[in-house]
């Protein structure tokens, strides 16, 4: 297999592994070598040449050590008006002295809590990047929400990244929420400089019954960064899980989102915006697995692509035979602002039950010239008019963000990028 030989360039990563979770790491390593990095012949990575990118962009295939973060850097990174809990990380390593907490929330280093069943939701045998992370993660964090605890304050995971030698950062997060718990997370990753590195992150979320969990992810790293992010969650009966994925920059970003609906009345929401320019390449692969009757999934991803950017959207909906009365909706809309921008969008529905409601649709278009002229004819300059229309296009997803401070924060970023404020 060509993929096997292709993977040897990462062998440096497996030297000097931490001594925690020894058998799990060994399994991760084996699973990685069995699968290897995906090639372009792999259907799931057809448009995203990740192995080639890694081989050519990274100079030093070893794990990046944490860098020192100051309280001032934290203050600068926290969105204005944000009121909530801050969990700070440096290259994946949790920084307790710079973090805050709230009643009902417990955090623990994974190295101090080896009974954490990591790998039980995000499975190394299905994904070489999960396998690689499982073998090499330096430490990680276990976040627990107490049963029946509704945490109203949002929990901000502030991830600082910096690897001057083009190294690998492997954050690992395990979140568990007891029955009837509620919490909202914001995963915000920030580059501390413009150097390249590779982030290979795995987040596993295990919710009890009747939980209500939201996970926002804001990706705004520098344009040399390569990322593969796996978010895998088990959603039990009567529970709701919402993922909001906002990607604004990066070199090559691959987001693998997997929602396992494991009970009746489970609801999974997947929302996303990708606003790309330059040569940024963003690939969102989502996967929702309906296994029980009377569950629901909603998906809406919107993309705005300028310059020579490239987007990939692949939305898989799997409805098993037992999952009668499933409602599954999927929508992906794109606006291409340049002739050199590319989007590959593909809905992928596999339905084995016969009494379901499933819909999907994708559109690729350009900016509406008629609408642009209408706004100009009212005295609005072209740049502002363009920004207004694009912002309105993205607005449908922004409206889904319930946290006002986060919505404002992202809205401002998007408006700045679209070249206008209104």
């Amino acid at each position: 297999m060509s993929t096997l030989t292709k993977s040897t360039f990462v062998s440096g990563l497996f030297e000097a592994l931490p001594n925690t979770f020894p058998s799990l790491r060994q399994m991760g390593k084996e699973n990685f070598y069995v699968q290897g990095f995906p090639s372009l012949k792999d259907e799931e990575y057809k448009f995203t040449p990740i192995a080639k990118k890694l081989e050519t962009s990274l100079t030093n295939f070893s794990s990046a050590n944490p860098v020192i973060i100051s309280a001032e850097q934290i203050n600068k990174a926290v969105p204005a008006g944000f009121e909530g809990v801050v969990l700070a990380f440096s290259n994946g390593k949790y920084l307790p002295e710079l973090s805050t907490s709230v009643e009902g929330l417990t955090v623990n280093f994974l190295s101090k809590n080896e009974s954490t069943p990591i790998g039980s939701i995000a499975k190394a045998e299905n994904d070489p990047f999960i396998a690689l992370n499982q073998a090499t993660f330096t430490d990680g964090l276990c976040i627990s929400i107490e049963k029946k605890k509704e945490i109203t304050l949002p929990i901000l995971l502030l991830q600082f990244h910096q690897a001057k030698e083009g190294q690998v950062i492997s954050p690992r997060i395990w979140i568990e929420a007891g029955d009837f718990a509620k919490a909202s997370f914001i995963d915000y990753s920030i580059s501390l400089d413009d150097a390249p590195y590779f982030v290979n992150k795995v987040v596993e979320i295990k919710g009890g019954i009747h939980t209500d969990l939201t996970y926002h992810s804001l990706q705004e790293e520098n344009n040399q960064v390569i990322q593969v992010n796996a978010l895998v969650t088990d959603i039990q009966q009567d529970s709701q899980f919402t993922s909001t994925q906002i990607t604004l920059s990066g070199d090559l970003v691959r987001n693998n989102l997997t929602l396992n609906l494991l009970g009746s009345n489970a609801v999974g929401n997947m929302f996303g915006i990708y606003l790309l320019n330059g040569k940024t390449h963003v690939d969102n692969h989502t996967n929702v697995d309906h296994t029980f009757p009377h569950a629901e999934s909603n998906e809406l991803y919107k993309g705005i692509l300028a310059d020579q950017s490239r987007g990939v959207f692949n939305g898989k909906i799997f409805v098993r035979q037992a999952a009668q009365k499933t409602n599954a909706f999927q929508q992906n809309n794109n606006i291409l602002l340049s002739e050199d921008a590319i989007i590959n969008t593909k809905p992928q529905l596999e339905i084995w039950a016969d009494d379901v409601k499933c819909s999907h649709g994708c559109t690729v278009g350009q900016l509406d010239e008629e609408a642009l002229f209408y706004l100009q004819a009212r005295g609005i300059d072209k740049t502002t008019a363009r920004g207004l229309l694009l912002y309105a296009f993205a607005g449908e997803v922004l409206e889904k963000i319930e946290l006002e401070s986060l919505r404002t924060f992202i809205t401002t970023k998007i408006q700045e990028r679209l070249g206008s404020k209104f």
């Binding site: 609408a371 609005i380 229309l389």
Partner: protein, 254 residues
């Protein structure tokens, strides 16, 4: 105020306007009538700056400025307003939101301070009354799901807010029932002054019962072939356009 001289325009190489001459003075109302495809809407679009049309000849002076040299937004800021025949629906943008942006850009161009939210709202309330439009409608996505009448009332509402010098109403009567026609016309009439002018583009005379023109021009095959007073509109109502077509076509063949 507006002086159009020998205006020629084409779309994708096909000539539509073939030498329009028109003088409009402050305080006047001009009606442009004509059969379908005569170039009425093209004239309105060219004046507003729609990019698909290529001006191949002629000039347009608006208050002494070369109108055709200006971008669509600068024409609007100078005081030209086009009420669209088919107002655009824009999901996700409310009338209130976009109009505040528009008004403040227009004010900035005219050297005026921007209006704050409170002043903007009170101005809006005053102008809303003119066209009997509901505030709820204005906070919804622009024209999305609006009835034909609501869309046209929204156009006149925007006109009231932007206080143009020259208003061009492109078939504002199309898609209107009698009540809406009366409301829209009342709005237009209340906005008229001795310092402003109006060009009413219409296929039917009906609208001109409400918005009474000082001059009526008949456009045919891209030229103004006949001009007169409001009586000309009545004559057209009664006799249709065929006699004009015949008159023009017969002289053309001679």
């Amino acid at each position: 105020m507006l002086s159009i001289k020998n205006l020629h325009a084409s779309i994708e190489g096909t000539p539509i306007l073939r030498g329009i001459n028109l003088e409009v003075k402050a305080g006047e109302v001009h009606a442009i009538m004509g059969p379908n495809g005569s170039g009425k809407s093209t004239l309105a679009s060219v004046l507003a700056g729609r990019e698909e049309y290529e001006v191949t000849e002629g000039e347009v002076l608006f208050q002494g400025k070369e109108l055709l040299e200006l971008s669509p937004e600068d024409r609007a800021r100078e005081g030209v307003f086009l009420a669209f025949q088919y107002p655009i629906e824009i999901p996700g943008v409310s009338t209130t939101n976009f109009l505040r942006t528009a008004l403040n850009q227009v004010r900035e161009y005219r050297g005026l301070e921007p209006l704050d939210a409170v002043k903007f709202l009170s101005l809006m309330k005053e102008k809303m009354a003119l066209v009997e439009i509901d505030q709820k409608l204005l906070s919804r996505s622009l024209n999305e799901g609006f009835s034909g009448g609501e869309k046209k009332r929204n156009e006149i509402f925007q006109m009231a807010m932007l206080e143009p010098v020259l208003s061009i109403l492109d078939e504002t009567d199309s898609g209107l029932d009698i009540d809406a026609l009366r409301i829209v016309s009342n709005g237009v009439n209340k906005l008229k002054s001795e310092n402003t002018a109006t060009i009413v583009v219409t296929h039917y005379q009906r609208l001109l019962d409400y918005i009474v023109p000082d001059f009526v021009h008949v456009l045919y095959k891209g030229r103004i072939v006949k001009s007169g007073t409001k009586e000309l509109a009545l004559e057209l109502e009664e006799k249709g356009y065929d006699w004009i077509k015949e008159e023009v076509d017969s002289t053309a063949t001679v």
